[in-house]
Symmetry: C2
Subunit: 270 residues, 2 copies
C-alpha cells in the first residue's frame, strides 16, 4: 500500500469531525476520506447487529476509495464493530475507545476513572473492558449524558442551563472521587471547557479523539505507510444525507472554509 494513499475515517454523523480535527493536527500530510452516516445517525440506539452491518458497508466503501487504513471515529461503532472489522479487513483499523482508555489509565493516580458517553456506549461496557484489561484494580464510574449532544448542536456551550445539566450528570461521579474523566462521545470535547469548570483541576479530562490521532500515527509508522513528504490534497467528505448541514458543522469545528461544499458528496447504501 502506498504511503500517499488516503486514510479513511467514519462516524455515525457529524461528530467525527472532532476526530478529523485531531488527525489533521497530528498528520498534516495525510489525505482524509470521511464518511458520516447522517441519514442513519444516531447509532446509539441501534442493535449490535445493525451497527456491524452499517460499519461493514462503510468500510467496504472506503476500501473502494483505496484507503490504506481506517479510523472508526464513532465511540459506539468502535465499541461494537472494531473487532469484526479488524478480523475481516486487511488494512489497519483503529477506534477511539482503546486509545482513550489507555490515556485515562495512565492519567489516574487513585484508580478511579469516570466515563461519560451516550447511553449505548455506556451500556456496551467497552470502556471498562479496556480499562480492566489495562489494570484490573481500576474502578470505573459511568454516566450516560443524552442531553450533551443536542446542547452542543444548539450551540448552548457557555450557558447556565448547560452548566446545570453538567452538574446533574457529573456530581455523582465527582462524589466517587474520580481523578480522570473520559469524554466518551465525539461531541463532548466541545463542552470540555465547561465540564472542566465543574470537575476542577484535580480531574484530568481525557479526549479520545486526541489520543486516537496520536496512536494512529504510531500505527501508520509501524506499518510503514505514514506519508512523510508534503502531499498537497483536498480531503473528501461523504454523507448519507444533508451535505449542507454537514459542511456547516464541519466548518465550525475545522475552521471556516476547511470543508468546501463541492467536496461533500452523498453516498447511500439503501
Amino acid at each position: 500500500m502506498a504511503s500517499n494513499a488516503p486514510i479513511g475515517v467514519f462516524d455515525s454523523g457529524i461528530g467525527g469531525t472532532t476526530v478529523v480535527k485531531e488527525l489533521i493536527a497530528s498528520l498534516p500530510n495525510e489525505k482524509i476520506i470521511y464518511y458520516g452516516d447522517t441519514a442513519r445517525v444516531p447509532y446509539g440506539n441501534k442493535s449490535k447487529e445493525t451497527i456491524i452491518t452499517y460499519s461493514r458497508q462503510i468500510a467496504k466503501f472506503l476500501l473502494e476509495k483505496e484507503v490504506k487504513a481506517i479510523v472508526i471515529a464513532c465511540n459506539t461503532a468502535s465499541a461494537v464493530a472494531l473487532e469484526t472489522l479488524r478480523h475481516e479487513l486487511t488494512v489497519p483499523v483503529i477506534g477511539v475507545v482503546k486509545p482513550g482508555a489507555k490515556a485515562a489509565a495512565e492519567a489516574t493516580k487513585n484508580n478511579k476513572i469516570g466515563v461519560i458517553a451516550t447511553r449505548a456506549t455506556v451500556n456496551s461496557g467497552i470502556y471498562e473492558e479496556f480499562l480492566h484489561k489495562t489494570d484490573p484494580k481500576i474502578h470505573v464510574y459511568k454516566q450516560a449524558c443524552p442531553l450533551f449532544v443536542p446542547l452542543v448542536e444548539e450551540g448552548w456551550i457557555d450557558d447556565d442551563v448547560t452548566r446545570s445539566i453538567i452538574h446533574r450528570y457529573l456530581d455523582g461521579l465527582l462524589k466517587k472521587n474520580i481523578d480522570a474523566l473520559i469524554l466518551g462521545c465525539t461531541h463532548y470535547p466541545l463542552l470540555a471547557e465547561e465540564i472542566g469548570k465543574v470537575t476542577g483541576d484535580k480531574v484530568k479530562l481525557v479526549n479520545p479523539a486526541f489520543e486516537c490521532a496520536r496512536e494512529f500515527r504510531y500505527v501508520l509508522e509501524e506499518n510503514d505507510i505514514l506519508c512523510e513528504e508534503e502531499n498537497p490534497h483536498e480531503n473528501e467528505f461523504y454523507v448519507s444525507d444533508d451535505p449542507a448541514s454537514f459542511a456547516g458543522f464541519a466548518n465550525s469545528i475545522l475552521g471556516e472554509g476547511s470543508v468546501k461544499k463541492d467536496n461533500v458528496f452523498i453516498k447511500n447504501f439503501d
Copy 2:
C-alpha cells in the same frame, strides 16, 4: 375493504405511541398495526427525498398487512410525505399536521398562533401552510425545540432544568402575544403540563395527536369502514430496531402491560 381490517400507524420511532394512545381512546374497536422506524430515527435531519422513500417502504409494508387506512403519526413525515402517499395509495391516509393546524385555527381569537416542533418540521413550513390556507390573516410564530425530545426520554418532566429550557424556547413566542400553541412533535404532549405552567391559561395548547384521532374517526365513518362492533384484538407493533426499548417506552405511554414483548417484531427494509 372490511370494517374489521386493521388500521396502520407509523412514526419515525417511539413518539407515535402518543398518537396510538389517542386512537385507542377514540376508536377502541380498531386493531392497530404500528410501525416505528427506530433504526432510522430521527427523520428530522433527513432530506425530503429520504423521508418520502422511507414512508413509501413503510406504507407498502402496512398494506401487505391489509390495513384499511393509514395514520402518519410523525410530524416530519406528515409534513413531507402525506401528499405523495395520498396520491399513490388507494386507502385513506391522514397525518397529524392538518388536524392540529385546524384545531389551532379554531382556538385562536387574536389570530396569533405559536408552533413548536423539531427543527425539520419548523423548517418545512407545513404548519403555517395549512394555517394560512384556513385563514390568511393568521400570524404564525415558530420555534424549534431540539432539547425537548431528549428531556422527555430522560424523564426530566417536573424539573427545574426543563422549566428553564421551556422558558428559553417559549418566552419569545409569548412576547408575540400568541393565544394558541401547537405541540408539533409527538413527544411534546408529555411536557404539556409543564409547558402550560409557562404559557398560562390564556394560551390554548393544541395536541395534534388528539385532533388527529378525532378526525380519523370521521374519515373511517365517511369511508364506511369504522369498526362499530366489538372486535377483540391484540395490537401489533413493528420496529426497525431494539424492540425491548420500544416496549418499555410504549408501556410508559399506553399503560403497563399494553404492549407485550411478544407483540413487538423487527422489520427492516435494508
